[in-house]
Symmetry: C2
């Protein structure tokens, strides 16, 4: 568990009990989580605290937010040493329309796209939808 505390400290986030629990939860889970998910797991804690924890994690580069097209924000831990802001670090996400789960495919980078003149891209989001490996097995 000391690793988690270190990770939080290194990113300028004070390792409170709640934050460590949330980090641990997200680390164990291999899929992206929504605020509601965390809410259900930590029912005793207040929603706002969980909400702000995710926001803090995001600002400090501990998690990245995922827009999978469901209109519900999902979050997933960043790879250690990842820099989500840099374009080459952008990986794609897969949303399963069967089990409704969203996963990071960190190996699959978003290919470079040639844009028309005048357009300057600073960020990219690529989501594939379909059947995930668990559901297609």
């Amino acid at each position: 568990m000391k690793e988690i505390e270190k990770r939080l400290n290194d990113n300028g986030v004070r390792p409170t009990a709640m934050r460590i629990l949330i980090y641990k939860y997200m680390a164990e889970k291999e899929i992206a989580v929504a605020l509601t998910d965390i809410e259900n797991v930590f029912a005793k804690a207040d929603r706002t605290t969980l909400y702000r924890t995710l926001k803090t994690f995001e600002q400090k580069g501990i998690v990245h937010q995922i827009d999978d097209g469901t209109h519900i924000s999902k979050f997933a831990l960043c790879e250690p040493g990842c820099n989500c802001e840099l374009e080459q670090d952008l990986h794609l996400h897969f949303h399963c329309t069967n089990c409704d789960e969203t996963v990071c495919l960190t190996e699959q980078k978003i290919p470079h796209i040639n844009l028309p003149d005048g357009y300057v891209a600073e960020d990219a989001n690529l989501v594939l939808k379909g059947i995930c490996e668990k559901c297609s097995g």
Copy 2:
């Protein structure tokens, strides 16, 4: 205007006055529109009617829904003869973080992505964020 009526008829949508107006509005506008936008333009009409008009248009292949990451559904007219369901017809969208407008880049198709074993893609969504041509000029 007869063209609009024909387009609606061809897609199995009865060309009511309201529907023609909404179609015309979307045709004149070159950017994707949200329900709220239409609401503001046609303030006299009921929100639900506008909502259902968009839903109907979408079901009948007249417009396609766009998820630009703002958590607000946007809609844009489909190209005549386009088949949004087919993967090769999927184009990318650009969301300007300055003017908050989203446009279809119908010429820029989403490149094919190799997925890990077990994953079956049925749909794709690629959104680039940055500065649009109007704002960068």
